[in-house]
Assembly symmetry: C2
Homo-oligomer: 308 residues x 2
C-alpha cells in the first residue's frame, strides 16, 4: 500500500508483502526494523559497533519489535514508548545526547505494521471487521536515522517535548481526534517558546492526524489564535493517495517515521525545502485501558529539521 502511494519513490525499500517470509507478523515487523537500521548504517558507512546508542520504540506491548531488533544491532539500547510520536521522541533524545556531548553517533529508529497493530489494538485482521469512517490504517514500515555530531546533511536544531493532553476521547477508531489537542498544545508552546510563526517554516508537518484529526487540529488552533496555511501537511495524509482505501489516512510510528526520514529527508537533500517543523503525534492507550473505559490521552513532540 505504501509502495503504491505518492511517496513510494523516496523509500529505500518497498516490501513485496507484509510477511517478509516470517512465521508471524510480529517477527516481520522486527525484521523490517532491523533492515531499516542496517540500511541506515550502511548508507552512513558505519558498523553496528560504531553506534554509541540506539533509541527505538514501537506500538507493540513491551515494544518487542524494537527490543528484538536491538538484540541484533547490539548497540547500547534505550527503549522508548511514545505511541506514534516515537519517531520524534527518538530523534529529539538522540539529538540531545549528541548536543550534550554524550555521543557522536546515535541510531534513532521506529516501526509499525498493519497486522500487528490491528491485532494489538483492535481486531485480528482475520475477522475482517469493517473500518469506521474515522479509523486510520497503520503504516507498515520502519525508519532509521543515524544522527551524528558532524556532517553535512539536515540537522535537528530545536525541539519541544510535549505534555499529555486528554480531552476525553474514548473511541479507539478515532485516534486523530484523540491526538489533535496534543498537537495543538505542542505547536502552541513551540511557536511561543521559539518566537516563530507557522509561516517561518517551509513545512509544518504533523505525524498521523489523518483527515479527521487535521480538521480538529484546525479547530483547536483557532481557539489559540493560530492559523495554519498551505505550508501545513500531515504525514497520514501524504503517505497514501486519495484513491487508496485507507479510511481517514495513515497512522502508526512508521507514518511520520518513513515520511520524514524518507520523503522529507530526500526533499531536503534535493534542496526543495530547508526548514521543517515535524510534530509526531501519539495516542496513549492500551487495549486494557480501552476495555476498562478509560479515555485516550494524546501526546505530540515537535522538532525542527534544517538543511543549510
Amino acid at each position: 500500500m505504501e509502495g503504491k502511494g505518492p511517496l513510494a519513490s523516496d523509500f529505500d525499500v518497498i516490501l513485496p508483502d507484509l510477511a517478509m517470509g516470517q512465521r508471524t507478523p510480529e517477527r516481520a515487523e522486527t525484521k523490517i526494523l532491523e533492515e531499516a537500521c542496517n540500511i541506515a548504517l550502511s548508507a552512513a558507512n558505519l558498523k553496528p559497533e560504531d553506534l554509541e546508542y540506539m533509541l527505538a520504540g514501537d506500538l507493540l506491548s513491551q515494544i518487542i519489535s524494537s527490543s528484538f531488533a536491538a538484540r541484533q544491532i547490539t548497540a547500547p539500547y534505550l527503549g522508548l514508548y511514545g505511541a506514534c510520536s516515537t519517531a520524534a521522541e527518538s530523534l529529539i533524545l538522540g539529538a540531545m545526547l549528541i548536543d550534550g556531548g554524550f555521543a557522536d553517533t546515535v541510531l534513532a529508529a521506529t516501526s509499525s505494521h498493519y497486522q500487528t497493530a490491528e491485532r494489538q489494538y483492535r481486531y485480528p485482521i482475520e475477522l475482517n471487521i469493517q473500518r469506521k469512517v474515522t479509523a486510520q490504517v497503520t503504516v507498515t514500515g520502519a525508519s532509521a536515522a543515524i544522527l551524528k555530531s558532524q556532517g553535512t546533511g539536515p540537522r535537528i536544531t530545536c525541539a519541544t517535548v510535549g505534555r499529555v493532553i486528554d480531552l476525553g476521547i474514548k473511541d479507539s477508531s478515532d485516534m486523530g481526534s484523540a491526538m489533535a489537542p496534543a498537537a495543538a498544545d505542542t505547536l502552541f508552546w513551540h511557536l511561543s517558546d521559539t518566537n516563530t510563526r507557522p509561516e517561518d517554516y517551509d513545512l509544518v508537518l504533523t505525524g498521523d492526524l489523518g483527515r479527521v484529526g487535521t480538521v480538529m487540529l484546525g479547530e483547536v488552533l483557532k481557539d489559540k489564535g493560530i492559523v495554519l496555511g498551505p505550508n501545513y501537511n500531515d504525514c497520514g495524509l501524504m503517505i497514501f493517495s486519495q484513491d487508496q482505501d485507507v479510511g481517514a489516512g495513515g497512522s502508526g510510528c512508521a507514518c511520520s517515521g518513513v515520511v520524514a526520514m524518507g520523503h522529507i529527508y530526500k526533499s531536503m537533500l534535493r534542496g526543495l525545502i530547508k526548514k521543517v517543523l515535524l510534530i509526531s503525534t501519539g495516542a496513549l492507550f492500551s487495549p486494557l485501558s480501552f476495555q476498562q473505559g478509560e479515555t485516550i490521552p494524546g501526546i505530540a513532540h515537535a522538532l525542527v529539521i534544517e538543511q543549510a
Copy 2:
C-alpha cells in the same frame, strides 16, 4: 508485603492495600505513581510546573500507568520502556538531560503492581496459579526522584547504558536467569570503561535478579574474571525478608526503584554509604512474544550514585 519487609522504615508511604480505593488494579498503579511523584515534588518544594521533563515507564502494555500519571503531573513527558530496568533508564536519561544543559529540574519515575503484572504477564491472580520455585513476586510500589542541576544530595556521576543480551531463556517464570547475562555484560563494560573494580563501590546493587538470577550472575561473571564480594546485593533479595512467601525474591520496575530511591537514598543521606553502583535489570518480552515461543532477552543499565 513490602511494608512488612526489612526496608519498610525507609519508604515514605506504606499502602494499606493493593486497591487504593480504585476500581481496577491498573488505576491503583497509576494512583500510586502519581502519589510518589507528588511526594517527591513536595519534598523538593516544587510544583509540577517547575518540572522541565518527566521521564517515566512501567511494565504494562503501552506503559499506561506512566502516561496516565503524566497526564496528571502535566510536565513535558518522555515515555520509556526498559521493563524492570526503567528506574535506571529514567535516572540516566534525566541526568544526561541536566548535564547536557537541557534542563535544571527533571522528574524520573517508575512503578509496578503485583496484580497488574500478574494479569499482564502470567495469570490473573483470581486463578491462584502455583508459583514455580524460580518465580519472583512483582513489587507493588512507585519511586520518583527529582534530579536537579544544583543541590547537596546524592549525585549521579556516571552511567553505562546496556545492550540487549539473549542467552535463550524462554521461561517467563524465571526472569532472574533471563536478566543475569545482561547484568554481567553491563557490569563488565562499566568496570572496564571506568577502570574500576567492584570493591571500589560501597555497594554494587543489581535490580531484581532474585535468588536464582544472582547465582547465575556469579557464574557468568566468573567467566569474565570478575568476583563480587560482600558489598554486592540485589534489590529483589533486600526488599522482602526470608520468611515472607515471595518465591525467588522481588521483581518489577518498582523493585530497584523503591530500594534505591527509598532505602539507598536515605542510607546515603545518613552517611552510611557514599558510592553505589546500581544496575537495574529488565526482561524484554511480551505475553505475545512468549506465546509465540520467542526467547526472553535481558537488558541492564548501570549508574553510579555518590554522596560527597
